[in-house]
Amino acid sequence: MTATTAAETTAKRRSLTAAASEYIDERTSVSVVVKEFGRKIFPDHWSFLLGEVALYSFIVILITGTFLTFFFQASQADVIYHGSWVPLKGIQMSAAMNSTLNISFDVRGGLLVRQIHHWAALLFVASIGLHMLRIFFTGAFRKPRELNWVIGFTLFVLAMAEGFTGYSLPDDLLSGNGLRIIDGLIKGIPVVGTWISFLLFGGEFPGTSIVGRLYTLHILLLPALVVAFIALHLVFVVVHKHTQYAGPGRTQQNVVGYPVLPVYAAKAGGFFFIVFGVLALMASLFTINPIWLYGPYDPSPVSAGTQPDWYIGFADGMLRLMPSHWEFVWLDHTWSLNVFIPVVILVLFLVVVAIYPFIESWVTGDKREHHILDRPRNQATRTAIGAAGVTFYAVMWAAASSDLVATHFKLTMEGVIGALQVLLILGPIIAYFITKRICIGLQKKDRSIALHGYESGRIVKLPGGEFIEVHQPLDEYERWRLVSYETYQPLMLRPDSRGRITFGRRLRAGMSRWFFEDRLEPVTKGELEAGHDHH
């Protein structure tokens, strides 16, 4: 009896927040979540925010996209335009194009939201790309994060698909020609191409179904997949805990940084608003995708400078890089290698990106977990492979704007394409060797700095008349960043238990030699001490 009264009095004195927390916790046990994750540590580094940029631009896309769905009509029914854009008045177009124009010119703030949506889409894919590069060059894909790399890769592909389906929805001239290219690309696939094209377009190109179908993919299926994969991606980030760069006090067994509550939440939450704000600013100042200039899709006109959005550029560029006459009739069928080879190259490229973590772990045989990130220079071969991959992608990408490169740099388009064809092969090789040499050079520099300190720029004359430069020694914290890395030695080719040397072993030994032949061992304690004695 007395106990109840006491409890009641305390309850009365409790604040509203406390009462609300009580109510919710009794029904959700949310306190467990807060206890588990409220003080979870996140390390602070600018490059760890790139994934967040992707996440935030996706949220912006969801918010603005929802607004757009209220006005957009995914239909290819013929209508006559009667809106505000004079140069299209009285022109016949699809309801999709008409409604997109109405969003732009006859819904207040509509153009702003459309432009935020499109800029956010470009930023979404770009930030995923940069995030992937960071993961790759720092080795953050190593055990236990290989599967999360694959999930992230899947998100990259889904993001491109989201982008392309969205780009095609307004049914304008530019995106229509983009779909025309996709149709041609699909038709070039041996055996099944014609039928895939007919199933996709509901008959002959362009038909009247494609916009509606892409819309379903764009606002239902693909976003659901993206959300699911993002959720999975983040669950793994929590399970694995965040990686960190090497630094004093940081080990493979800890993670050093700021707690979620309050610092990280404030920074990450604030960053969402910053990303959204930058997108809003860009959208209010810069035109994107002016469909009113492109006009409605019609299979006859085309604009000079017809290009896809940047993330499809590499595929378009690869198509442009094929030489002439790679098509023949054989066994009574047309083999469009001029179209199919680019598709195969693109798929292979993407597959190599997706499975790279497994290749590297097979080569090293390292089954330990890795939570300290590599400095790219300390993994010279991986960094060089990455640079080669980036160059390969960049050449394909540049090829997608071969015509603009030609006009802006006063070159011939034939010359630009020819040069890029050569660069597609040579560029990655050159990039590989240059990067590898730079990495090893930097390793040597690090080693010398760790042992002898920085060059201070102060020249002293020794009693013997000799001039030397005084070296400024590092403090132990700085030095630790330079010396705390791992190396691997090349695998010796040995016969297996049955005394055989299999192809797999031979390949692995070869790859291992390729990866780790040129390397510098980290400075040891003994060397450091010797170095100190020297000065």
């Binding site: 140069p87 299209l88 930058v278 209010s284 002016p290 006009g295 085309v302 030609a406």
Partner: protein
């Protein structure tokens, strides 16, 4: 309606069977071609001929012999280096000289636009001289270059006939072997019109039977509309389409955001 078309089609078919039909057709076709050509040229030059006096023609001839004859020949008959100008009309002269393309500064894939070396009076004299050599398209009447036509019709014609080279926004584009279709912003309506009727360099000719003078006026109206109305979405990034947008998002969009991430994670003082 459909019935009649069928009938016509059938009659046409039966007519074609006659052995002389082909010959007759060709004869008629040739006659029409020549007739229309002459008629078209005549209409083109009438206004022009009336406007120019003999003194203009004489002054033009002097200018021509001083500035153009070294390549085009003393009588504008053409040489191995440059084409004959007989019959190109005043429009061609006004366009080529007025936009500074002629006299050509140097040999290249195509003549470049540059500040004109002549005053408008001198250009008119040159034009009068060349027009006096043989009939050709004249300088367009100002009623076709006032830009008060139908912008929507013009935009449609522009998309079908012009956008593939000059880009939907008139930003220009690449042609083969280093040639290019120039941007149309800032080009005077008269020069746009003259380019269409004369087909300078590799540009095809769009005669009045292909795009009527009213259609050309509509195209000029559309170009004027997009030049006078700033893009409703904000700065245009060169109207170059997705490439410019992609570069912008990487360099400025992602660039500024990366700069901000550095600020966010830098330790406060």
């Amino acid at each position: 309606m459909r019935e009649t078309t069928h009938k016509i089609a059938r009659r046409r078919k039966t007519g074609r069977r006659h052995p002389f039909a082909t010959v007759a057709l060709i004869a008629i076709g040739l006659g029409l071609t020549g007739g229309a050509y002459a008629a078209f040229n005549a209409t083109g030059s009438t206004a022009d001929a009336a406007a120019s006096s003999q003194s203009d023609i004489d002054a033009g001839k002097k200018l021509f012999q001083a500035n153009c004859a070294s390549c085009h020949g003393l009588e504008a008959q053409g040489t191995s280096e440059a084409p004959s100008l007989i019959g190109v009309g005043a429009a061609a002269v006004d366009f080529q000289v007025g936009t500074g393309r002629m006299p050509m500064a140097m040999q290249g894939p195509q003549a470049q636009e540059k500040p004109s070396q002549f005053t408008q009076d001198q250009i008119d004299q040159l034009a009068a001289y060349v027009a006096s050599l043989a009939p050709g398209p004249g300088i367009p009447d100002s009623k076709y270059t006032d830009g008060d036509g139908d912008a929507a019709k013009g935009a449609e014609l522009f998309r079908v006939n012009c956008a593939m080279c000059h880009n939907v926004a008139g930003a220009g584009g690449a042609l083969t072997e280093g040639k290019y279709a120039p941007p149309l912003h800032g080009v005077s309506p008269t020069h746009v019109y003259e380019a269409m009727v004369t087909g300078p360099q590799n540009m095809p000719v769009f005669n009045d039977k292909n795009i009527s003078p009213e259609g050309k006026r509509d195209i000029i109206t559309y170009l004027r509309f997009i030049q006078q109305n700033p893009s409703p979405g904000g700065f245009e990034l060169g109207a170059l389409g997705p490439v410019a947008e992609g570069l912008f998002i990487w360099i400025f969009g992602l660039g500024s955001i990366v700069a901000l991430t550095v600020w966010i994670t830098a330790k406060s003082n």
